[in-house]
Structure formats: structure tokens, C-alpha cells
Amino acid sequence: MSSLLIWIVLIPFASAALLGFLHLLLPKQRSLHALYTVSGIAAPFISALMSLAVGWELFNSSDDMMIHAIAFNWITLGDLSVNVAFMADRLTAVMLFFITFIGTLIHIYAAGYMKEEEGYGKFFSFFNLFMGSMLLLVLSDNPIMMFVGWELVGLSSYLLIGFYHQESANMKAANKAFILNRVGDFGFIIGLALLFTALEGTGYTFEAIEANITTLDSSLVAVIAMLLFVGAMGKSAQIPLYVWLPDAMAGPTPVSALIHAATMVTAGVYMVARFAFLYNEVPQVGVYIATIGAVSALFAALIASYQSDIKKILAYSTMSQLGYMFIAVGLGAYSSGIFHVFTHAFFKALLFMGAGAVIIALHHEQNIFKMGGLKKKLPLVYVTMFIATLAISGIPPFAGFFSKDAILAAAFASEHYMIWGMGTLTAMLTAFYMFRLLFIVFFAEGKMDGKLNPLPRTMTWPLVVLALGSTTVGFLGLNEAYGGTNIFSSFIALPDLSHHLSHKSEYLLGMLNVLMAVMGMGLAYRLYAKSAEEPQVNNVWRRAVVNKFYIDEIYDTVIVRTLRHLSVFTDKIIDQKGVDGILHVAVSGYKSAGAAFAFLQNGKVRYYALYILSGLSVLSLLLLNALGGM
């Protein structure tokens, strides 16, 4: 069983290497497409099967059961011993399940979406690399390996966001994503290093850290927890490191689906849940995380309500939903947070793939105000998108309701009413902007003439599967108030900080959430269902929101330009005048010394013999000196 863990990670990597190699060797060969498709899809599929086996094994054993697999020892240096080792507990099993399952569906979808593209093989190579990296991240048994996966995820997202690298705007977006992630990673690695030093060599696997965490000074743990969260901010696009996420839409739509649903952005939430034991030591940091999450959720929802690019709306909605997840994990409701990750993966993948289908059908049109009336023309996409929209808006019995409700209930129960209030407001906005999208695209009068692109079956069937998932997976987390037993959180067995809430208040909260969602829906219907005109940007507020509160511009002025000026200063003044000046002096001194030394090298044997004898004499003198001291 344990060697399965290794194979789960290895197979996508192997496939990525194979495809990459083939593509490099025969870049123009179209006849290889079948192979690319088969290998590209088979790799995540096999991983999915093996993940199921692992999950089944864990399901049938006690809840603290862990499966370990050690591939080999990687580094041994003093206290630091890093094994390339994998570990699966129940948290991992959940992550594995949806990453591989939804990942496979996205791969199938991508086979249809990308089939006309030039770099088909390259795409699947990167795609498999992305899967492998994410699997490495969740399966690692120590923070170092997790960091490797973490970085590889950053790298592969960079490669995929910049997939259409012929346009410089796309490369800019890719660079932005990469650099902002680096900022987060910087915090992350410092946090890991600090944690390692603080542990003083008592072992650096998750298990060992958990066993020793109580011995650490709690203020130090707080610093570590904050630094690790900086990493999560970057990967999971929270304020202030979120600005890459909307720009990341530059990549092909399957990439967005993969980044937003199955892989990358969930890494931050997973990391916090993985370090639950650490965050439980310092609840004040958790509150801070939850606050960041709540602000991000509300902020992103506001921006999403004014966007007109279909993918950007979805991007901001992801950021907003991630905010919910951080509210949950910040307040110690880890299983609710992971549950939202889980349900979100289904409907967000569905939304992106639906949006991708619309985009392909409309010949790469992304502005929702230029769409409309697609209800009749794309019935399957319409129905599935409708389901996903219901799910994300939190309408029961669709998946999103249960997870979002659990998070808001946890926030209410932990008596952080401010956070709860922001979450509830966001719930209304979520329903508003999502139904705005749905109504404009499918209901409002059509503005497009001409024939639609036909959609291949590989692009439509995954939608159906995901729609089924979005409808049903919520019941896994049905809690006691609604007559369930919350299979999900009892399975995942995370160290939640529990707050009790009476059934009556749970019903009230649930009803409030539904009410908010219906209000948002109603508003969207009134404004956009009949006809949709692109709104005029005619007052200060609208201008601010449409321009995303000028955050990009502010970052540009405050950080990017300042850094650039500093770099120019360092380059022109400090480096060229100062450092180089000193170096030139040193180098010329060294060179003349070298020339003087080479002068001794005159090619005459008698001189050489003289050097040897004088060397021997000096040695003798040294020896005499040493012996005199003896």
C-alpha cells in the first residue's frame, strides 16, 4: 500500500517528462496527438484510482492511521535529515481525491479545448507537471518536501499562465503570478527555517513537529504561523498578494480551471490545515487570518460585481471563496474549511469549464455583455452552469450551501460577529454577481450573430459529471442540525476548535444565508435578466470598483517603481562606481602580483631546483622552530 503513494506522485511526473521529451524531439508532429491525449489523461486517471485505493484503506482504519512511504534519503546534514518521503492521512486522502478526480476531468476537457493548438504536447506535459507538483505538495511528509511541491506548483502555474507566450501581456501576467508567489514563498521559507531552528533537531516531519510543538515558545510560534501564512497569502491569493489571480486568466481556460479548482489556490488552505496543530497554539494569529480572509472575500465580491470579463468574474469569485476558507481555518474550523475547498472544487471547475465552453462556442469572446441568449443554443452548458451558480450562491440542497453555512456558523459561534457579518454580506454579493453572469450570458437578448462553434463531447461530458457532484457532495457534510451526522468532518478528523451552537440558531443562520442569497439573486434578475447593457462608468464609486480600487496602480507606484529606482541607483552608482571601483583596484593589484609571480617561472631548471631547495630550507627552519618549542 505504501508504495502506492510514491507512484501517485511519480506517474504524472513521468508522463510530463515523456510528453515534454517527445514534444521537444518532434514539435510539429500532429500524429502524436493521440499519444499526448492518452498519456496526458491516463496519468491523472491512474493517480486517481490509486488515490481511491489509499482513501479506502484509510476509511477502513482508525482515524489517526497514517500511511508512510520513504523513497530515499535526500539530504543528511547535521540535524537536518530530509527523506524523500510521503505520508497520507485522512486530510491528504480528501485532497488527493478531489485533486485527482477533478484534475482528470479537467484533463479530459482540455483534450477538447486545446485540440487545435500548436503546443498540444507541451500543454499536456505542463499539465501533468502541475498535477504531479500538487500531489507532491499534499503527500509530502515533511515541510521541505512540501516546499518543493509548493515551488513546483508555482513554476508550473507560471509555465501554463504564460502558455500563449507570443503575446507579451500574457508573459507579463505569468511573471506577475510568479513574482508575487515568490514574495509569499519568501515568508514561507523563512517560517520553515525558523521552525526548524526552533525545534533544535527534534525531527522535521509533520508528525515530529506535532509531537514537539508544545515545547516551543508561543510568541515564536506566532511569528512562525504568521510567516507561513504569508506563503498561503501568495498561493491562495489573499489580500495583499492577490493581484496575480485575475491576471492569471491569460492562460487557457482549462488552466484556470485547474488552478482555481483542483490545485494551486487550495494549497494555502491545505497548508494551514496541515499545520492545524501549530495554529491551534496561537489562536490570535488565527483570528488575524480569518480577518484577512473576510476582508478578501468581501473585497473580491465587490470587484466581481462590476467586472465584464467572464473569466475575471470567476477569478474574483475564487478569491472571495478562498476568503471563506481562510475564515474557517483561521477560526479553527479546519474541517469546514477543507469541506468548502472540497465542494468549491466541484462547482468552480464546473463554472470555469462552462465558461470555457461558452468562450469556445463564441469564437473566443470573453466579454459577457457581448454574449446573451445562449439558453436555447447551449442547453447543456446552461443547465450545468445554472447548477454551479446555485451551488456557489449557497442555495440548498446544492453543495455550496452546506459548506458555506458551516463556515458562517463557525464564525458566529466563535463570537467574531464582524467577520460573520462580512461573510454574510459576501454571500449576498456572491449570489448577485454569479446570477448577474448567468442572466447576462444565458437570458438577456443575444447580441451575437453567426454560427456557434460546435463543442466536442470531451468538453461537455465532464460538465455533467461535475454538475452531479455539485448537486450531491454537499450532503457529505450534512450536520446534526439538518439531520445528518457530518460524515465529512468525522472522516477527516482534524483538530477543530469547537464552539457549540444550538440547533435553533443554526436554523436561523441557515435561513438568513438563503435569504441573503435569494436577495442577491433577485437583484440580479431585476437588473439583468431582460436586457443587459454594459454599465456606464459615471461616478466615483463605479470608477473605483471597475478599476479594482486602483490596487494594481498603487502597487506599481509604491513598490515596483520604487524598487526600479532603487535598482537603477544600485546599478549606476553603488555597483558601477563603488563596488567596481574597489574591485578594479584589487584586480589590477592581483594581476600585477600574478605577473611578478609568473616572472619566477622563467623556464630554467637551475632556478626551479633553487626554489625546491629553498623551500626545503624554509621547511627545515620551521621544523627547527617547532622542535625548539617542544
Binding site: 609568473a598 625546491i612 623551500g615 627545515s620 617547532a626
Partner: protein
């Protein structure tokens, strides 16, 4: 009896091979002789590789020779490097031999004789044996250096090397005599036993003898101030011989140096270390000076090989100051230097096959356009020699500096790091020449051949040794190599 014979079989095969080659030299063509030589060397190599790690320490023919001739993992590892070095030298230079008209059959016999000498040197447990072995190896190398006898530079190099070599060789035997005078035996174990029960007066004699022996070893290593022959001889010798000397013969000296330091003078090491430190500092700085001023690549590599001796001397003096890491560090460094230097010189002689030029930095301008693969490999070897991370050279330096810090020689480690920085200048200059300048010639069609393949394999090993793990069976990566080095050193220390 047969068991005893089996113990010395690898060396016997090499020396028999040399005689066979002498017999065949008039009838066979160069190609065939080359193959015969490689065959014998490979046979020996295979026997040794099967034996590595399986034998316990033992002596060959103890009733006749006493404890002259020792067989342990340490010496077997060295044997492996010698035979591998010779095989690589012969195979990579196949084309070179044919392009020059002065090669004939005796050449291969001489290579085998010198390998035989080095093998005996690694196995010798007694000073006179060591001396004889060193002379067998040296005399063969003298002849090899001057092999192009109608070339003035080559003959001159041989003369210089021989005169200076004989002079320092005399020191070795003089030192041996001193030690014999004090101890009454030349066997290393007897000397160790004598030294460990100190009677101060007689130790002086042992120390003086030790200094003399050391001078010989330092001379052959090319440590400053005994280095002056290095650049001239490396320059004058034909390319294959330079490759053989830099990669293989240099290593042989460390075999005896390590054996002496670990077994013999353990209790005298405090005195030793001071002397060695002075020489190390001189070698590091002097070697850098030599390398930095050269215009020809061959001379630059010669100068830099002095610096590499300096790095190993850092660890060598750390042995006496109680660093456990130091001796394996030297072993690891030897392996890493062997791979990188053999590769770099191999490429040089490979290129020299087609031209008779000096091969200066200028000649390498735009080389990456003409021979992209070869220049990539050259770049890898240069990176490794300068100690760039992710190559084996980086780990080699890393272990060396760690051992120096461990033994408290922080200033020496600092100097080592500074010279490593300086070395970046002369190594990267070549990379810059290859990649940042346009080519003056047209791109030629380059044939695929066996020598290029071998060089490629070595480049891979340089990378794999820097990052690799035990993932690929039978090819040790970074951690596998350090384990091998430790195992060899362990077998050495177990003798006492």
C-alpha cells in the same frame, strides 16, 4: 598460494598486459594495440570493482614479503581510479594517436607500466616499496612526457621533469634512510608503533625523514614552492599525457600521502599541520597567480591543478587537527577532480586532434556555435572545477571547507573560498569565450564518435555526482560517492 595470487591479480594483469603490448608492438596497428591495452586495464578494473567492499584487510605473500603489500578498500578504490583514468585516456585519444606520427606500440606499454607503478604505490605498506613504486610510475611518465622526441618543447619538458624528479626522488630515499636509522624498520606499522611510544630524541630523526619524504610527495603534487615544473611540463607533454598526468598520476600521490598521514605520523601531526598550513597558503595563492596570468588553456589548467592540490592540502592538514571528515573529503575531492580534470583535458586533446595550434582562450571564441555539445560539456567541467553548485566539484569543495572549519582552520577555509572565487575568473573566462563571442569559422558538421560519447558520459557523471542520489542502480550519486570515500578511509584506519 592461489589465494595469494588472486590478491595481486589486478596488478599482475596490468603488468602482463604491458609485456604483451611490448611483444605485439611491431605486428599490430595502433588501433589494435590500444584495444589490447584497454582490454587488460578493463579486466583489472572489473576484478577490482567486484572486490571493492568485500575483502577485509590482508597482505599478499606475508611469508615472503612480510607486510609490504597491503590490500584494503582504500587501495582498491585508488586502483579503480588509476585503471579508469588510463582507460579514459586511451579511449578518448584514439583519434589523437592516429593523427600524430610519433606514436608506436611502446607508448601503450609505458602507460600500463605507470599504472602498475601507481597501483603498487597505493598498496605499499612500506617505504622502500613505495619508493620503488613511485619510481616505476615516474620513469614511465618521464618517457611519456618526452614521447614526441623530435619536438623541442616536449623533450625539454621531459628533461626538466626528469632532473627535478630525480633530485626530489633522492629526498625520498634519504628520508627513508633517516627513518630506518631511528626506527630500525621501514614498515609503516612498525614506524607507527615506534612513534606512538615517544622518546623525544629519536623523534627528531623521524620528523626530518618525514619532511624529506613529504617534499617528494609535495613536489609530485605540484605544491608551491615545489611547483615550478608543473606548467612547463604540462605544456610540453602531448595532450593525452597531460590528461593522464593531471587526472591519474596526481591522484596516486594522494594515495601514499593519505596512507602516511593516517597511519603513520598521527602523534606528530601538530608539528606537521603548521608546516602544511604554510605550504597550503603558498600553494593556493601561488597556483591562483599562475592560473590567472595564462593565455593558453592548457597552461591555465596546469596552474589550476596546483590550486586543486592546495584545496586537498587544506583537508590534509585538517586530518591532523582531529577532523573526521577530512580524509573522506580528500577522497571525494579526488574523485571529483578526477572526473572534471580528465573531462576537461579530454576535450582539449580531442579538439587538438584536428589542429596543431596552441589552444588559447582566443581560439575558443564562438566555440559554442561550432561544437554546441562539446562546449556544453566543457562548460560543465569548468563549472565543476570552479566548484559551482549542482556539480560534483561543489560538493568536493564543500566537504573540504567543512573539514577545515571542523578542525578550527577557519582562516584557511576562508582563503580557500577566496581562491575559489578567483578560480571563477579563469574558468568562466573560457565559458564566456565559448558562448558570448561570435564564431569566426563556419559551423562544421561534427561526426558522432566514441570519444565524444565518453566525454558526454563523464559530464553526466559530474552532474549526477553533484545532485544525484542512489536512484539509478550501479551509478553512485553524490551521497553514494561520499559513502564510498568513507568506506575506503575506514578500511585504512582499521589497520591500526
Amino acid at each position: 598460494m592461489f589465494e595469494q595470487l588472486f590478491l595481486i591479480l589486478p596488478m599482475a594483469i596490468v603488468v602482463m598486459g604491458a609485456f604483451v603490448l611490448l611483444l605485439l608492438s611491431k605486428t599490430f596497428s595502433l588501433d589494435k594495440l590500444n584495444l589490447v591495452a584497454v582490454f587488460f586495464l578493463s579486466l583489472s578494473f572489473i576484478i577490482e570493482i567486484l572486490r571493492f567492499g568485500t575483502t577485509t584487510v590482508c597482505y599478499s605473500f606475508p611469508e615472503i614479503f612480510g607486510k609490504m603489500y597491503i590490500i584494503d578498500d582504500f587501495s582498491i578504490l585508488f586502483d579503480l581510479m588509476f585503471t579508469a583514468g588510463a582507460i579514459l585516456t586511451l579511449l578518448i585519444n584514439t583519434a589523437y594517436f592516429k593523427s600524430r606520427n610519433y606514436y608506436n606500440g611502446e607508448y601503450f606499454a609505458l602507460i600500463l607500466f605507470s599504472v602498475f607503478g601507481m597501483m603498487i604505490l597505493a598498496h605499499s605498506n612500506e617505504l622502500v616499496t613505495a619508493f620503488i613504486a613511485l619510481e616505476i610510475a615516474s620513469l614511465s611518465v618521464f618517457a611519456l612526457v618526452g614521447y614526441h622526441k623530435y619536438n623541442k618543447v616536449s623533450s625539454e619538458a621531459m628533461m626538466k621533469y626528469m632532473i627535478l624528479g630525480s633530485m626530489t626522488g633522492a629526498f625520498f630515499i634519504l628520508g627513508t634512510a633517516f627513518i630506518y636509522g631511528a626506527v630500525g624498520s621501514t614498515n609503516l606499522e612498525d614506524i607507527a608503533a615506534y612513534v606512538n611510544v615517544p622518546a623525544e630524541k629519536d623523534l627528531v630523526l623521524v620528523l626530518i625523514g618525514g619532511i624529506f619524504i613529504m617534499v617528494t610527495i609535495l613536489f609530485k603534487m605540484g605544491a608551491v614552492p615545489f611547483h615550478s615544473w608543473v606548467v612547463d611540463v604540462y605544456q610540453g607533454a602531448p595532450f593525452p599525457v597531460t590528461m593522464f598526468m593531471a587526472s591519474t598520476f596526481k591522484i596516486a600521490l594522494f594515495a601514499i600521502a593519505l596512507r602516511l598521514s593516517l597511519i603513520d605520523f598521527a602523534s606528530l601531526n601538530i608539528v606537521w599541520s603548521e608546516i602544511l598550513q604554510v605550504i597550503t597558503v603558498l600553494t593556493l595563492i601561488g597556483g591562483s597567480f599562475l592560473a590567472i596570468t595564462q593565455k593558453s588553456i592548457k597552461r591555465m589548467l596546469a596552474g589550476s591543478s596546483v590550486v586543486h592540490s592546495g584545496y586537498m592540502l587544506i583537508a590534509y592538514s585538517s586530518i591532523g587537527l582531529g577532523s573526521d571528515m577530512a580524509a573522506p573529503a580528500i577522497m571525494f575531492y579526488l574523485i571529483s577532480y578526477f572526473l572534471s580534470a580528465a573531462g576537461a583535458f579530454g576535450i582539449l586533446s580531442f579538439i587538438a586532434t584536428g589542429s596543431k595550434k596552441m589552444m588559447t582562450y582566443e581560439d575558443f571564441k564562438g566555440f559554442s556555435e561550432r561544437r554546441p555539445y562539446l562546449s556544453a560539456m566543457m562548460a560543465i567541467f569548468m563549472l565543476s572545477l570552479s566548484g559551482f553548485p549542482s556539480t560534483i566539484g561543489f560538493l568536493g569543495k564543500f566537504y573540504i571547507f567543512t573539514s577545515a572549519i571542523e578542525s578550527g582552520q577557519i582562516l584557511l577555509a576562508g582563503l580557500g573560498i577566496v581562491t575559489a572565487f578567483i578560480s571563477v575568473y579563469y574558468y568562466f573566462k573560457l565559458i564566456a569565450m565559448m558562448y558570448f563571442y561570435p564564431s569566426t569559422d563556419q559551423q562544421k558538421k561534427f561526426p558522432f564518435d566514441f570519444s565524444g560519447l565518453l566525454i558526454g558520459v563523464m559530464a553526466m557523471m559530474v552532474i549526477w555526482g553533484g545532485v544525484g542520489t542512489s536512484l539509478i542502480p550501479f551509478i553512485p550519486g553524490a551521497n553514494g560517492l561520499i559513502d564510498i570515500a568513507k568506506q575506503a578511509i575506514d578500511s585504512l584506519q582499521n589497520v591500526l
